[in-house]
Symmetry: C2
Subunit: 347 residues, 2 copies
């Protein structure tokens, strides 16, 4: 029931998924039974592979995440997460209220042991495909150890999901040198260098598109602003080209160019992004997700389950921590700590 | 001598300025006399309105700003700032090393009394023209009082330069509500509300283009990343459209659309941006500035001098400070202070 075009786009996305993806895939549609049956009746699909779980409520965009958990247990979103937590479903996919999905996933699936703050990354176009910018999930006022965990979870995800090994990790910053940036960036750089990550150094705003890193790490304040800004680029482009588009696109090359730009920047066309650091697979889709985006998100969920990515994160986080311990820097909580350490080492 | 296309673009920009701008304008070109004479000889212009100040050195992009001040006093950049500080010139315009220009301006022109950190803003396209994003000048790890001063200086600049009164001030943040965002954003919101600024609330990344604010305030870490990211959008667009462009643009509408996008995002086409908070007019141009950008930057300098914008900032900053004093919040240096104050007021 979640998202601007639900249940049309979610149901169509589910139908396309069971038609096009592997034969063992089963989809549980959670929500208003009547509405879902009506939608489903329009499609021809293997009926034994889609079932409906009926719920009475819907989470709206104005609901407070914490209240939803208490007062809307029988909503499509919360019930879907619950089905996953009960292992009735192997993963959950939603285009609904992101805050509520995150809150429900944290509470019902639980955090992976050792993970301080689960994180959401987002894909940015880059010269060799995409880069994962992490955190874009509003984890503000971060410490270096949080940034390290974002980097570790992002790396493990990219290595398993895109099979790019080892994932190259960059730190979003305002200059190339290790002493540039704000206090968080400077102390995070120090930690990344000693972390066992495949750290390629600072990535400036101008380098995001250039493909120098597979995972670009920033705190959730910066990441969220950058993501929401990037999401409007395509709208601005469309507005500018409206006149030209109205009279029809005169040739195929131009059509391809605009389509390429859409592929880069129209986040509603993408699949979803995973919530990393929880015990399970919770895929967060854009509110404006099309059926195509929903189908892609379901495909992502399948890959994450098959490749056991949450388990890989559990093991990986432990290894990164052990690596830091062995270097005597289990903690690095502040700029002050970095300064003390840095001045000791420089003596 | 500064910038990727100097001295060609700087000399041509100066020639165009004295040709096209008002009759009283005189330009002093500072740099290698021979190179400047050779460039100038190609143009037809009122010879009594351009003079050359000969210097022996040039600041390169790898120079350290602080060393430049000591070791390259006879460089074009430092001498130009010095001419302004000696009141031989009413303003200084450069497309050279930004860090060195800022350092020289701070030291030789000095800060306006009461200004903690001078700031650089940059223009972002918006539905009603442009919005000034401030700070983009790498003032990292800011306190609320710094943000207030960025807002005040940005407002005064916009009000005098664009004659938009009162300037609408927004705070770049990750949500609409006043309690959203990181600790800096939350405590800055509190201060803005009580500041006498024409504060319109939080501006999210998705709203930057929408024209809801004339001045959008953020710390220099966020601002610099956002600016450098935005600067690459036009490059990405051009790369995408290269195929279509190579075979020629088939119609005028499309040409206009691309040109509009260029106008929005090609920062090398803009004039410069002022360093706000120093005793003088120091205009910072993009390294890739065209002759047109240089001419526009000279025009900006003329307007700033004629409208006495540095003096307006001096008076305005005092007024904002007095306003805060009268509300009993002369200082707000940290999130902790905000919390204490906020909980007292909520009692």
């Amino acid at each position: 029931m979640g998202g601007d075009f639900a249940p049309q786009s979610t149901v169509q996305g589910a139908v396309d998924a069971v038609r096009e993806l592997e034969n063992s895939l089963q989809v549980l549609l959670v929500g208003d039974e009547k509405a879902l049956r009506t939608e489903l009746s329009q499609y021809d699909y293997p009926a034994d592979r889609i079932s409906i779980i009926s719920t009475s409520k819907v989470v709206t965009m104005t609901d407070r995440p914490t209240r939803v958990l208490k007062e809307k247990r029988d909503s499509s979103l919360i019930r879907a997460v619950e089905l996953h937590s009960e292992r009735e479903a192997a993963a959950v996919v939603s285009a609904g209220h992101t805050g509520a999905q995150v809150a429900a996933s944290l509470v019902m699936l639980g955090r992976i042991e050792g993970v301080r703050r689960p994180t959401i990354g987002s894909y940015f176009p880059s010269e060799n495909g995409v880069a994962l910018l992490v955190d874009v999930g509003a984890n503000t006022d971060c410490k270096p150890i949080h940034m390290l965990q974002f980097a570790a979870m992002g790396s493990i995800f990219v290595e398993h999901f895109f099979e790019r090994r080892p994932a190259r990790v960059g730190l979003l910053n305002i200059g190339e040198e290790q002493t540039r940036g704000n206090q968080l960036a400077v102390s995070t750089y120090y930690l990344f260098e000693r972390s066992g990550l495949n750290f390629v150094g600072n990535i400036e705003g101008r380098d995001i598109f250039k493909g120098a890193a597979d995972v670009i790490v920033c705190d959730g304040f910066v990441g969220n602003i950058l993501l929401k800004f990037a999401e409007t680029i395509y709208e601005l482009l469309l507005a500018r080209f409206q006149g030209a588009l109205n009279i029809g696109l005169p040739n195929e090359e131009l059509h391809q160019a605009l389509r390429g730009f859409q592929k880069d920047f129209d986040y509603a066309e993408h699949g979803g992004v995973p919530l990393l650091g929880v015990n399970g697979v919770s895929i967060i889709c854009h509110g404006r997700s099309s059926a195509r985006a929903i189908k892609n998100a379901i495909r992502e969920a399948v890959i994450m389950v098959e490749r056991k990515i949450p388990e890989a994160i559990r093991e990986g986080i432990e290894q990164y921590h052990a690596g830091l311990f062995s270097r005597g820097i289990a903690r690095l909580h502040s700029y002050q700590e970095w300064r003390e350490r840095h001045s000791r080492e420089s003596d």
